[in-house]
Symmetry: C2
Subunit: 219 residues, 2 copies
DNA sequence: ATATTTTTTTAGACAAGCCTAAAACTTAAA
DNA sequence: TTTAAGTTTTAGGCTTGTCTAAAAAAATAT
């Protein structure tokens, strides 16, 4: 079944929201994510349900079906492969890729994505540390812990970022925090939940907001 | 001014038809090229004229304005750069690239196209021998002679193809004719205007139809 | 349990691009 | 020069995806 640009974006948005809220995705949340109004979302949910891409009963939120999930993951696969291409081969910074990848992810050509994957050397992760689904739409979600939830004193590495807005990523560049950086929480400041951290042997302070958008894996 | 996907395609189509018919492009020709109906073209011409991308008076055909020409050439630039990328880096055959490039040409990002150009080493021509416009939308149309119009007995090289459908390009692959191949017309067969040619030292026969879709430059 | 607030859906409209059928204009033929 | 044929435009409609306003349902508070 041939999906439109817009349908693909809705499926992707449902996938992302379902990760945070596995019980079902609400109309308002989806409207916010897709930058539309709830009324528009209602229309689209009806349409996607009719195409059996989602499970949906009035007033009860939406969930991806098998085929909807597959479609969403193939779009995400393309998005992330293009991000790798832009960073590795066109010297884009990691905060510059998302907007372009939002367009490139809708290009329809199986050959293209196959050859791109090959050209890139079958990468497993995108520049933000997110896993790249395989050609069957299967993904291995790596267990990630938010830095804000991590144990004080233990060694860890930055494995991904939750937020990937240019402003946030530029801030991380500024403090020289990237995927793979070593990190230890030295102290939690009770006053504002900010953290004193050791980042690749440099001591610095980061806000709770920042810590809530960095994923780490134990070393 | 932000152009839609569809508007970009119309401008490109007008550009291509204007090359063959500099006096102005007819509604029916444009409908054929864009695979729409003349009625739809009339609507769009009105819209493009209103945006000052074309000159257009009812019943009198269309011509690109300065800004319309620029816009068309920037789309063509992107199309051709992507074709080079697909052939040189993703090992696409020259008959497989056009369809994908039709999609990629509409991706909007100045940075992307700049970096792609750099990555490719600032190519001057696409895989079909067509010149790539520069970043200002300027193009140097190389003087090309159709093989069917070329002098018998003179040495020449294949410099471009007019038609670039997969079927035609696959036929050229089959007879091992590519951009840069050496070619001499040995004899014109009066009966059907077919040609006996010497192609890189092999003698073979090609139809008039084929000869009308190959451009050569004198050696 | 009832009332109030919030969320979701429906109703009705609109823009972009497309279509068919009919009218208007242009060109070619008689 | 009138008629016929071909081309182009207009009129009216359709689809996709969006919106605002109003109605309906669900969640929350009294
Ligand atoms: Mn992204
Ligand atoms: Mn990413
Ligand atoms: Mn092409
Ligand atoms: Mn080409």
């Amino acid at each position: 079944m041939e999906l439109s640009f817009v349908e693909e974006n809705y499926l992707k948005a449902i996938y992302q929201l379902e990760l945070e809220n596995p019980s079902g995705v609400s109309t308002t949340a989806l409207a916010e994510k897709t930058k539309t109004k709830p009324a528009s979302v209602s229309d689209m949910l009806k349409k996607l349900a009719q195409k059996e891409l989602i499970f949906y009963k009035k007033y009860q939120g939406a969930k991806l079906s098998k085929s909807g999930l597959q479609a969403a993951l193939l779009v995400i696969r393309k998005h992330r492969l293009w991000e790798v291409f832009l960073v590795k081969h066109l010297s884009f910074a990691w905060d510059e890729v998302h907007e372009v990848a939002e367009q490139l992810e809708h290009i329809k050509s199986n050959l293209l994505i196959k050859r791109l994957d090959q050209f890139l050397g079958y990468p497993k992760e995108d520049p933000h540390g997110d896993p790249i689904p395989n050609e069957n739409g299967e993904i291995i979600e790596i267990p990630k812990i938010l830095l804000s939830d991590f144990t004080t004193g233990k060694k860890a590495q930055i494995s991904a970022v939750k937020e990937s807005s240019p402003l946030f990523l530029q801030y991380l560049d500024k403090i020289k925090a990237g995927i793979g950086s070593n990190i230890i929480i030295q102290e939690r400041i009770a006053f504002d939940n900010s953290l004193e951290i050791l980042l690749d042997d440099r001591t610095l302070y980061i806000s709770e907001e920042v810590a809530k958008n960095i994923y780490v894996t134990e070393d």
